[in-house]
């Protein structure tokens, strides 16, 4: 049984008289532990697919089974729990709390997971250190550079040890060295059996994955499996 099984997933947006078809029927199986890259031109529906996979959005038609459970059958609380415990989401637009510092932003998923204060702070600090931001714990998003914000978003996604990491252009704002470090973190997680799904425009980022899916106009255009992915440099600090 695949970890993720989607069938004929569609998602369209009605804009007045016009309908935008973001996904036109996507079917896909993803096994546990896979490292997958999603590529495609701008506007092809990558983020839309990620939102569906992350249990944030609901499709107009088609089915999505996560771990054998039909997501459509889950109630709001169950979905919240899945988002909190199973999925680490790195948003394309970071989505950090503007009024909170990095530490609190990273700590937040643990708050909703009911983790004790000391453990929360401990784990949030470690997650920030893992992305090289130990010195920026008490900066707010508007006091950070774009790349630093992106790394806070990555730290927040990884802090809860999610079994599935969904990263929408996680290295888009990073120089190649920092980007490689983030990818190294993903690789480490992947080696430990976690499932990684990364959206990217950059061919060299996709090369880290073992499988590349290309999307065009809301449809899967190609699905390649590579025998040997490129390895990333060792991360700054090992994951705790």
């Amino acid at each position: 049984m695949p970890l993720i099984r989607i069938r004929d997933l569609t998602r369209h947006y009605v804009m007045g008289s016009e309908t935008v078809h973001a996904l036109r029927g996507v079917s896909l199986d993803i096994e546990k532990g896979e490292y997958l890259a999603i590529m495609g031109p701008s506007g092809s529906g990558k983020s839309t697919l990620m939102n569906l996979l992350g249990c944030l959005d609901t499709p107009n038609s088609g089915t999505y089974e996560l771990n054998g459970t039909n997501v459509a059958d889950m109630d709001d609380n169950a979905l919240a729990e899945v988002r909190n415990r199973e999925i680490g989401f790195v948003f394309q637009s970071f989505n950090l709390l503007a009024r909170s510092d990095s530490l609190h932003n990273v700590e937040l998923p643990l708050v909703y997971a009911g983790v004790s204060m000391e453990e929360r702070l401990e784990r949030a600090r470690q997650a920030l250190a893992n992305v090289g931001l130990a010195e920026r714990m008490h900066h707010r998003p508007n006091e950070l550079s774009g790349g630093q914000r992106q790394r806070v978003a990555v730290a927040r996604a990884l802090v809860n040890n999610p079994s599935i990491v969904l990263a929408d252009e996680p290295t888009g704002n990073l120089d190649s060295r920092t980007g490689e470090e983030i990818l190294g973190l993903f690789e480490q997680l992947s080696r430990r059996g976690n499932t990684i799904i990364v959206v990217t425009h950059e061919e060299h980022v996709a090369q880290h994955a073992r499988r590349i899916i290309r999307i065009r106009d809301g449809l899967i255009a190609a699905d390649e499996i590579k025998p040997r992915p490129r390895s990333a440099v060792v991360p700054i600090a090992p994951i705790a």
Partner: protein, 418 residues
């Protein structure tokens, strides 16, 4: 296997964010909680003032001995001051010493029946000193020392024999004794009051002051002497002391019956006299202040409802402004319930800040009354707690709809909100 968020963790997060949000919009929050502040302030102010007045009455009643009531022509507190009712009181028969004597004989359940007549006010003098003309002359029967709970410090109280012989002897209040005889004992000395001479046989223990004037500045002389000098029409008050608190109602009933007989009150007619006890005074005071308290209650309620609507409005604005924040929280695992808690708590915090300020200000301003009355400051903590409770309620009631709106926002829509 559904680990729930410990309440403390959730509350701490929600409270932290509430203070954060309120702090981020100080002026807006201040204006919103002003309404709450006014509502709570007015009720606490009134409660404080009334409690101070009540303290004052209680202290005044401490003049009476334990389980003692007083019989008089006029009610102790009356609000109707139209001529007709006052006339009605004035037409009531007076009390005479004889009434008290007969009452003493017939009210068998009573322990003491005392008679007091405040007859005059003026200057008192001795060989050593002189007072301002504020000293009162009081005719007292011997048992009145018990019923008025006056305790002799030095010498003796007035005795039956003084009364029978209507001797010009006097017992002095503590203050007066000190003023007239600053250097030594007053006993055996002579004092002068409006040309009358008394020899001092006793000095009383101090009782403190009431309404800012000393309660110890009087001369007590035999009631018979006073009546002879000032005439038997002199108004008297009679105090009756019961042997115990349990016997109090029976003594009161018996006294009432005896008095009606003595005054030939027709059966079925209301009493043509007033019985004043500590309890009846407090009850009466409560009835009179009920209107004031009800008025303050209504004003407060209106203010609080208006303030509640203000809170709701500001919370709705806040929810809209923070749509994105809500989306983020939902995306990383907050349940609807968590969002609900956060926003309701924010409304409660807002309301409680106003409430606390209102309580503090209300108590502070209300305590002007006890300062004027020279009674100790009062702290109506029961009202304060009720006030704060109501504030929480206002926060919950008016915060629930905005919070519900926040909790039911679509996560993905909220994330896209600019």
């Amino acid at each position: 296997m559904k680990p729930r968020i410990p309440l403390g963790t959730e509350l701490r997060e929600a409270l932290g964010m509430a203070f954060h949000a309120i702090g981020a919009h100080k002026l807006r929050s201040a204006l919103t909680l002003l309404g709450i502040l006014i509502g709570v302030f007015s009720i606490i102010l009134v409660a404080t003032a009334i409690q101070a007045l009540q303290r004052n009455i209680e202290r005044e009643m401490a003049q009476l001995g334990s389980h003692t009531f007083q019989i008089q022509r006029f009610p102790a507190i009356h609000v109707e001051d139209d001529d007709e009712t006052i006339d009605q009181y004035l037409r009531r028969k007076r009390f005479y010493l004889d009434t008290a004597r007969q009452l003493e004989q017939r009210a068998t359940l009573a322990r003491h029946v005392g008679v007091v007549a405040e007859v005059d006010r003026g200057e008192a003098a001795s060989d050593y000193g002189k007072t301002p003309p504020t000293v009162s002359l009081r005719g007292m029967s011997a048992p009145a020392f018990e019923t008025r709970s006056l305790v002799v410090e030095e010498g003796r109280a007035l005795a039956e024999s003084d009364e029978e012989a209507s001797r010009p002897v006097a017992v002095l209040g503590a203050d007066l004794a000190k003023k007239l005889f600053p250097f030594g004992s007053a006993l055996g000395q002579t004092i002068l009051f409006k040309g009358m001479r008394f020899s001092v046989v006793g000095v009383l223990q101090p009782k403190g002051s009431l309404f800012g004037s000393s309660q110890d500045s009087f001369i007590a002389v035999p009631i018979t002497w006073v009546l002879r000098r000032y005439g038997r029409e002199t108004p008297l008050s009679i105090q009756v002391q019961a042997p115990s608190q349990e016997a109090f109602p029976d003594v009161m009933e018996q006294t009432r019956g005896v008095l009606r007989q003595l005054r030939k009150t027709p059966p079925g007619a209301p009493d043509d006299f007033e019985i004043v006890s500590n309890d009846s005074l407090i009850t009466q005071f409560r009835t009179i202040t009920l209107a004031v308290r009800a008025g303050a209650g209504i004003i407060s309620s209106i203010a609080l409802v208006a303030a509640g609507i203000g809170i709701m409005n500001i919370m709705l604005v806040s929810v809209t402004e923070r749509t994105r924040e809500i989306g983020i929280r939902r995306a990383i695992g907050a349940k609807k319930r968590n969002i609900m808690t956060q926003f309701v708590l924010e409304a409660v915090v807002l309301s409680e800040i106003g409430g606390l300020l209102g309580v503090v200000l209300g108590i502070a301003v209300g305590n002007v009354v006890p300062i004027l009355l020279k009674v100790p400051a009062v702290l109506p903590w029961d009202w304060a707690l009720i006030g704060l409770g109501v504030c929480s309620l206002v926060g919950v009631v008016f915060g629930t709809y905005p919070a519900w709106k926040a909790a039911n926002l679509d996560p993905i829509e909220s994330l896209r909100y600019e």
